[in-house]
Symmetry: C2
Subunit: 434 residues, 2 copies
């Protein structure tokens, strides 16, 4: 397992050993740059801990939807096999400036959608790791890297995190610039992180949040709204009731059990029931996503239709049929949905929900259903998946925390406390994956 | 002519007399509330100049697209004949709080589009006043009210201002909240003002700019970026060359002549030539406008199709056929267009262009072409039309000033100076209209 270490060189050697041992089975990586990682690690080590940056000692896997100037980037598509971007994506440049070493590129589903990837779930190779940040979640969960970059348009960070027993975090919209990342659906796309602990997310966020001149949505600096840390017995938690109804019994029990444990520590835990707009939001997200994908792929799809997988092709075909007025109406639904979810935070500090419908499916014909992640994505709220339980089959079940927009630091505070309460890492079978 | 006066009561009497004398021919008003105006004027007069508010003594016409709680509001459509809104629109509430007296509702074209209204141009009743803020421009130009509220989606404030020899001003997006105004195309709609002098615009902007809780686009407070006033000999003016090519010879000569007069006063006047994105912008605006209108009218049009005029019906029909991916691609063009126009301000302080293609058409089959107003509208920049010359037929020709986004105060400063340089009011035939 990659552990906190003062030595980038040692961290990289550990990562490479672990990749050698596990990746032939798990297939989390599409490209590993051992020589480059060793060279960068040595350079950072020479700078020393003081000057090496806040991500000194971090080994990172970068989702292959995200450009790297020194490694191929194929966006999960045969059309881009061997493609060499000119330069690092904004977020890659930021983590490297902060001292992280990029070890390699992790598997993404084709153009970040739903065609299953070759990656296996580290907890059980018969199970999907989820998607689309499949390789990032599997690599972190299997201890091959300390953290990984992912992207989320519907549920592509939080769902694989839940399936693989990793922590997944999607900051508020606009916090992390998206220049150099292949667009999936621009109005929904966000950068996210996968890590093994909440503590490891904090310097990642600090190193990457800020203005990206190439991404108009990131122009605004994240509002610094420092608030006093909430004592657990002052915390108000709303359990998002309509999502429990969509979960498997084991997942619903995990979320309820987590709520009870928080209540036992003094938190005020209540059930939260949004109105009808909430249900309309799910369809709106699919309309927005399909239409925006059809627009992004317009020319490429016309010229390379035969090189598209069946699931993404059917999404694009559906997207091409959507009328502008349906799209505009979905945008209007999103506005109402956002106002409604914002309103819930008048009464609670954080929302609690399943991070996925259930444990990872025992199948490689699917990457699972992102439905649980749609509310935070559509409403533009920060969200985090945290492993909380093991199913009877020994597979991880993650809970989701959703925070107030631009209140990401409080969300991380609450997640750190929840992590202690849940104490997932002490569960006996964990050694099997990690 | 309505003049600056300390007495709201006297101003209202002057306005009502002027309306009695001229409106039977001009038909600028759909509704005049003489009793209500007298009552409000008396109440404000009792408060006195000190406590009456910054719009003390202002008489105002409100475009009939904008709700008034005490007068009918029909949005120019027979479907809404006799409609009585519950309350004033946000901007109406703001001007009333500031001491203005609303005298009546001014003619809008049907749902603020292109079907010609009954209104006549005060300079020549055979000519169109332009649209869609037809009545607001005509009422101000004919001296029936001191100022009027309008709205602009393509060129609905600046073009009628130019046709009628009024000053028209469209502040930066988000400065004036739009709650209580019938949507035309939400991503383009803005509130604007018509007045006889630039000085009269300043308190109108001050009284109305700010947060409107019902309009998400107005959440952000206009940035106060006070800058030192520019001395005329430091002013850099860019003449938007591609728009001159679309203007009539008389209008092109007016804009060139205005540039020469500014240069004679020491300004640095140069020709500005944007790239190809500029041309793509015009088509993008039409795509956005048609698609958004089709979405707004979806249900109403299905139920009342026979009550729509031919021009708006054809826009909605075209809008219904637009695919979501075309709409998204038009949004992308707008983003590039906006970046390109923003970039022009690296070298200039203000752009100079025609405010309309030429003088008002001698026809009531058209309300004219908004093409000259599309750049500022699409790019989200503040813009102002100022009467500058008279055509050989004795019709006004307006020039347009376009400012940097959120730099509205500087735009007004430059316009005030230009107003002195041009000295339109001293032109001999002016008495005829005003």
């Amino acid at each position: 397992m990659t552990t906190v270490t003062a030595s980038p060189v040692a961290a990289v050697e550990e990562a490479l050993e672990r990749i050698d041992a596990r990746d032939p089975e798990i297939r989390a990586f599409v490209h590993v740059d051992a020589a480059g990682a060793r060279r960068h690690a040595a350079a950072i080590e020479r700078r020393g801990r003081e000057r090496g940056g806040p991500l000194f000692g971090y080994t990172i896997g970068v989702k292959d939807l995200i450009d790297t100037g020194d490694m191929p980037t194929s966006y999960g598509s045969p059309i881009f096999a061997g493609h060499r971007p000119d330069r690092d994506a904004h977020v890659v440049r930021r983590i490297r400036q902060a001292g992280a070493v990029v070890v390699g590129k992790t598997v993404t589903t084709e153009f970040a959608t739903f065609d299953p990837p070759p990656t296996r779930n580290p907890w059980d190779p018969a199970c999907t790791p989820g998607g689309s940040s499949s390789g990032s979640a599997a690599a972190v969960a299997a201890g091959m890297v300390r953290a990984a970059l992912g992207t989320q348009t519907a549920g592509s960070v939080l769902r694989p995190a839940s399936y693989c027993g990793a922590v997944g975090f999607m900051p508020s919209p606009g916090w992390i610039g998206r220049t150099g990342i292949f667009e999936c659906a621009r109005s929904l796309d966000r950068v996210g992180f996968l890590a093994r602990t909440v503590d490891d997310l904090v310097p990642l966020l600090a190193a990457t949040a800020g203005v990206d001149p190439g991404d108009p949505a990131s122009i605004r600096r994240p509002r610094a709204r420092p608030r006093p840390a909430l004592a657990p017995d002052r915390l108000r938690v709303g359990v998002l009731a309509p999502l429990l109804d969509r979960a498997t019994p084991a997942m619903a029990a995990t979320v309820r059990g987590t709520g009870e444990r928080l209540a036992a520590h003094g938190a005020d835990v209540r059930s939260t029931q949004p109105s009808e707009t909430f249900e309309a939001g799910f369809a709106a997200l699919h309309t927005l996503m399909r239409a925006e994908m059809a627009a992004v792929h317009e020319v490429l799809y016309r010229n390379h239709r035969g090189s598209y997988g069946p699931r993404i092709a059917s999404i694009i075909d559906a997207g091409r049929r959507i009328r502008a007025s349906e799209y505009i109406s979905a945008q209007e639904t999103r506005r109402r949905f956002r106002a409604e979810l914002d309103g819930l935070f008048d009464d609670v500090d954080v929302l609690l929900a399943p991070a996925a419908v259930g444990a990872a499916e025992r199948s490689h014909e699917t990457v699972g259903d992102p439905v649980m992640n749609i509310p935070a994505t559509l409403a533009g709220l920060p969200a985090l998946a945290l492993p909380a339980e093991l199913s009877d089959d020994g597979l991880p079940l993650g809970v989701q925390l959703i925070g107030r927009r631009d209140d990401d630091h409080r969300l991380l505070d609450v997640a750190r406390w929840l992590e202690d309460v849940v104490d997932f890492r002490s569960m006996p079978p964990l050694a099997r994956a990690g």
